[in-house]
């Protein structure tokens, strides 16, 4: 919301020496965040301790941009389309300005003007905006001859001053604008202004008007409020009996008020009003519509003007003696065309303002096309109503409509404001349009809100804020915000004013008031303390702690952590199955967004694999070697449950050359393969002190058959690891022929088996005996079986078994492979000799021979 400080000053006497920047800072700290400060002609001020964005706006030179008074308009001797304005600018002599402004032509040759025309006047050397330039451009006014007449000054348009884009004619200032100023007054003093662009949070609906902001300013500065008068001169015949109001749903329409202004003449509104509307970002239309908008900006109460004669005609057509305004929900399928020409088939909750002939406007949001004010309207029925804010918000959402009125109503306007707005607008219309206001108003107020009263003990303020404020201090702050306060000892009886809807009752009302007290008192004045409250029971979070432990182990293993979008598409995840196959999915497999924002993010992921592959593709464009992991949730809806399961998973991906090359040390050939991936998993499990891990050949739709293992930890399935299926690699646009090693593991199973307090063995004191053993086994014999048989046969003295070579080829018979093991034997309490070791070795050879058909390789 753009707030003119000049306008604000009508309601609160902001000290002249308070810079706009300091006022903006006070408002920002009090919760009315000033997002931007816009300067109209006046300079920015440097306030110590306050940093504001530097502004490069046009500053009106106090010596050269002045208030001028045109005393006569003369014809130009040599040009039909130019005239000479004779201007009194406070100087010793009158100044003649040549201008092409068409709005002066009517005065040409009429002799001395009475009354004179007031206008902004620029002397040569003044900086102004170039009125003729398409793009914003500044210029320094230079004296020059225009068709033979020397011209060293200029009368200005709004565009030349930076007030609007209007360059149709020069600015002619109305009486109210120039009242009290003499010719030659610096223009800064007459028209200069500062606009505060305030971002209002939803709870500050009451401040969505100039008066609303003025109340906050008054409270913050400790100054009184001056409300505008609400007297209306009512000279016309009484309104009573000429129009009725029929509210069908009071909970949606607590109040509806009407006034009637007859005999008006539609005309442009005066410059002061047009200027305020323009500076607030609204377009002036005419003296009736502008008043409704002006009063809405001023008071926060939206208004609507109907053409009274159209309503009377509609009443007559429907057989009624006079118009009745009916507010009601629409009939099934009812339609309405609005002011903006949009046509609507209404939803059941879209409240309507209607009459006996049908619908008129969409309540609280926008007027209808048929009954709006016309250029030749003579009589106006003025509406100031109140609507349920939730219903207005729903209607704006369902109808996809927005309007200044709707925005205000949807945040909440107190019904007490309707009559204030109505009276203010009726009087302004009377004055500006020459109409006569009918005596009285029609006020239907079926749902008058109860006056809110809150008892606030001072102790409660202390309990929540930690500050010792006195009852008098608290009362003063609340009264500054227009609350009524009675103090009885340490108890404050607070009555909420009829412009606020945001104060509750009981303990919530107390909290609402405490917020107001601290906000106005100033958060910067609240002291800081260290919590001396009870320290709650301290709780460990083992799941998080072990997850971070796993991250550290994987990073130590050389992997980079990635974090992917958890939103994806079923189509993306379907690519994880090679063409012709499909990922086995249950029905309603996905948490699906009802309102996705983009086509590539429609569901919550069920797997980490697609994200890992997408990340690999992107990075393999820049580098040939990637190693990373992700730890995060997947989302699995389960039948019968409202919410999905969100298990944590670990994804790992490796691809590219195994070794890095150095300037003196070329990398050995070899790319990451299955065993590098398995090594990462083994490193992780070893780091977590998980021993009972079993890897078994497995099949997975995304993985290379025969290069895929299922991991089982303590008999619980813990995920798969393997080489990516080449067809899946192709589907993800991964480089052709590059092995991609990928794993998706169940983090909860892994971390559930992690042991932080594992047993540590004593450091051996006895020497070990080392023996190598090469065994020839059939090709299909898994290494894990050989390892297991060796360990079993070796018994307790066999400390370690390490496979150090796998060999195929002569002299090993075809269909067989040679596995070479380094065996470490050690006794805990004595030095082992060859004799028992050789016996064990024989036992091992026998065992593998019997159980696996292995033979010793010579």
């Amino acid at each position: 919301m753009l707030v003119s400080i000049r306008w604000l000053k009508e309601y609160v006497d902001i000290p002249a020496d308070l810079p706009a920047e300091a006022l903006a800072e006070r408002l920002t700290l009090a919760g009315l965040e000033v997002g931007k400060i816009r300067y109209i002609g006046v300079p920015q001020q440097n306030v110590p301790g306050i940093t504001v964005p530097p502004s490069d706006h046009l500053v009106w030179d106090r010596q050269k941009l002045l208030l001028g008074k045109i005393v006569e308009v003369k014809a130009h001797p040599d040009a039909d389309r130019l005239v000479i304005a004779v201007v009194d600018y406070g100087g010793e002599a009158l100044e003649e300005c040549v201008t092409g402004a068409p709005n002066l032509f009517a005065y040409t040759g009429a002799g001395p003007l009475a009354p004179p025309l007031w206008t902004p006047f620029a002397m040569e050397g003044a900086e102004v905006w170039d009125g003729h330039s398409e793009k914003p451009a500044r210029m320094i006014l230079k004296g020059r001859k225009l068709r033979g007449v020397y011209n060293r000054a200029m009368v200005c348009s709004e565009k030349e001053l930076g007030l609007s884009d209007d360059h149709e004619g020069i600015m002619l200032l109305d009486e109210r604008t120039v009242a009290g100023y003499a010719p030659g007054t610096p223009l800064q003093d007459v028209l200069g202004d500062v606009l505060l662009d305030i971002d209002l949070t939803p709870n500050l609906a009451r401040a969505w008007s100039i008066i609303g902001v003025a109340r906050e300013v008054a409270a913050l500065l400790g100054l009184p409020m001056h409300y505008p008068p609400t007297d209306v001169r009512m000279d016309g015949p009484a309104i009573a009996g000429r129009v009725d109001i029929d509210i069908r749903r009071p909970e949606l329409n607590p109040r509806f008020t009407l006034a009637l202004i007859e005999g008006i003449t539609i005309a442009p509104s005066p410059l002061w009003m047009q200027l305020r509307l323009k500076l607030a970002g609204m377009r002036p239309i005419n003296n009736i519509v502008d008043v409704t908008n002006y009063v809405m900006l001023e008071t926060g109460q939206p208004l609507h003007a109907f053409d009274w004669d159209i309503l009377c005609r509609r009443a007559a057509q429907s057989g009624a003696a006079h118009p009745t305004i009916i507010t009601r929900l629409p009939d099934a399928g009812e339609e309405l065309t609005l002011l903006d020409d949009s046509h609507h088939v209404l939803d059941a909750h879209n409240l309507l303002v209607a009459d006996t002939a049908g619908s008129l406007s969409l309540a609280g949001v926008m007027g209808g096309l048929e009954s709006e004010v016309q250029p030749d309207s003579r009589n106006i029925l003025l509406e100031a109503a109140n609507w349920n804010f939730i219903n207005v918000r729903r209607t704006m959402q369902s109808r996809k409509l927005s309007s200044e009125a709707g925005l205000r109503f949807s945040r909440g306007v107190h019904p007490g404001q309707a009559e204030f707005g109505l009276r203010r607008a009726a009087e302004l219309m009377r004055v500006l349009s020459g109409g006569i206001v009918a005596r009285g108003i029609v006020d239907s107020y079926p749902l008058r809100p109860e006056t809110v009263r809150v008892d606030l003990p001072v102790a409660e303020v202390r309990r929540i804020t930690g500050m010792d404020l006195t009852p008098a201090e608290i009362a003063a702050i609340l009264r500054g915000l227009q609350f009524e306060v009675d103090v009885t000892g340490d108890l404050l009886h607070v009555t909420v004013p009829d412009h606020r809807l945001d104060i509750g009752t009981g303990v919530i009302g107390q909290a609402d008031l405490i917020e107001e007290i601290t906000r106005i008192y100033g958060y910067d004045r609240i002291p800081t303390t260290v919590m001396d409250d009870l320290l709650p029971p301290q709780r460990d979070n083992p799941a998080l702690r072990s997850e971070e432990w796993a991250r550290d182990l994987l990073v130590a293993a050389g992997l980079n952590e990635i974090v992917c979008y958890r939103l994806t598409t079923p189509e993306r995840e379907a690519l994880l199955a090679p063409p012709g196959e499909s990922v086995d999915l249950p029905e309603n497999a996905y948490v699906t967004l009802a309102n996705p924002i983009s086509q590539d993010k429609t569901v919550m992921r069920r797997t980490l694999l697609a994200g890992l592959l997408d990340t690999a593709v992107a990075n393999l464009r820049q580098t040939d070697r990637v190693r990373f992991f992700e730890i995060g949730s997947v989302y699995l809806p389960t039948p019968g449950d409202l919410l999905p399961q969100e298990p944590r998973r670990l994804g790992i991906l490796l691809a590219g050359p195994r070794e890095m090359a150095w300037w003196d040390l070329p990398a050995r050939d070899g790319r990451f393969d299955f065993f590098d991936l398995k090594g990462v998993v083994e490193t992780l499990l070893a780091g977590l002190h998980i021993e009972k891990a079993v890897y078994e050949p497995a099949r997975h739709v995304s993985l290379f058959p025969g290069r895929t293992a299922a991991l089982t930890i303590r008999k619980r399935p813990a995920g798969v690891l393997g080489e990516l299926h080449p067809k899946v690699a192709a589907a993800f646009d991964l480089p052709d022929g590059l092995p991609i090693l990928i794993a998706e593991l169940d983090l909860e199973v892994i971390l559930g088996a992690a042991r932080a307090a594992h047993r540590v063995s004593p450091v051996p004191t006895q020497p070990a005996v080392y023996q190598d053993l090469a065994l020839i086994v059939p090709e299909e014999t898994p290494a894990a079986s050989v390892d297991a048989v060796i360990r079993e046969a070796g018994g307790d003295l066999l400390e370690d078994v390490r496979l150090f070579d796998v060999y195929r080829g002569a002299p090993v018979p075809t269909g067989h492979k040679s596995l070479a093991y380094a065996l470490t034997f050690r006794a805990p309490d004595q030095t082992l000799t060859d004799k028992p070791v050789n016996k064990l070795r024989e036992r091992i050879i026998k065992a593998v021979g019997q159980k696996l058909g292995a033979t010793l390789r010579d």
């Binding site: 804010f389 303990v507 919590m531 958890r566 996705p596 924002i597 919550m604 300037w663």
Partner: protein
Amino acid sequence: MLDRLEELYRQAADDLARITSSEALREWELGTIGRKGEITLMLRQTGQLPPEERAAFGKRANEIKNLLTQAHLEREELIREQELARSMEEGQVDVTLPGRVTPVGRLHPATRTLREIYDIWAEMGFQVYRSRDVETDEMNFELLNIPPHHPARDMWDTFYTTTPGVILRTHTSPGQVHAMREYGAGGTKPIRVILPGMCYRYEQITARSEVQFNQVEGLAIGPRIRMTDLKGTLTEFARRMFGADRQVRFRASHFPFTEPSAEVDVTCILCQGQGCGVCKHSGWLEIGGCGMVHPAVLRNGGYDPAVWSGFAFGIGPERITMLKHGIEDIRYFWSNDLRFLNQF
């Protein structure tokens, strides 16, 4: 014989003085004072001399052997020094050549910042409580004092799911009610928790906004928690996170689940409050929102708001990371470009 000995001695001493390599020295040693060296052999021949010459010869021979042995040791030391000096001369490397770096992995910047946040709060007695990403409307909004269709809902652009009443959480605040109900023992026990997690907003992805982002919310509930504590505690956090010399500012704001509510700003870490592009020339950086827990929320968590009070706050780890490292595009976080990740 003695003359011969003296001759050998002179010769050996001369030879030794000319030796410059350890190989030649070894040869000299073998030829003179070694087991089969000439001096040694001569000494062994002492017994063959006439008895009257033996004593003098033996004495002199031993003397010479000792002298030569001593000279050998000195020469050996000298040569070792020379050779070391030579090898140092020859073995110099270009220290400006690049080292062989151990390729290490790196934590994602979001994880690093989360850990930093956990650590600071842990020292103040706040433990991590995690809750789910896919939430009910009731938990995400209604129990946090945000009724259906309330204008306050405009503060969050929400992703709805096809299951009515189920949404992606827009903030980690639902964890407040979860934690109160789980840890509060029916509103009888104090609580201090922080609630980290991924949140989701219906927003176009731009350099400044993301559809998913981490948030860390904090909650302290107790019989005597005051707004001065909120200010003190968050000021402490801000100084630990951004530097001890930071100024911290509390600005009134609005969140439906806290009252009073505030935004917390710190003096800009780039311009020290002088005004720059990062702080939009305000001199301040907004680091989070906070406030005293709204009585309705306390009630929904099982606490009597007339007896218990509390504060809550929310901060954005990605935003904090961006401020600290001068990152201008939030899209870097989930795009996982190693050229970004490797900078941490």
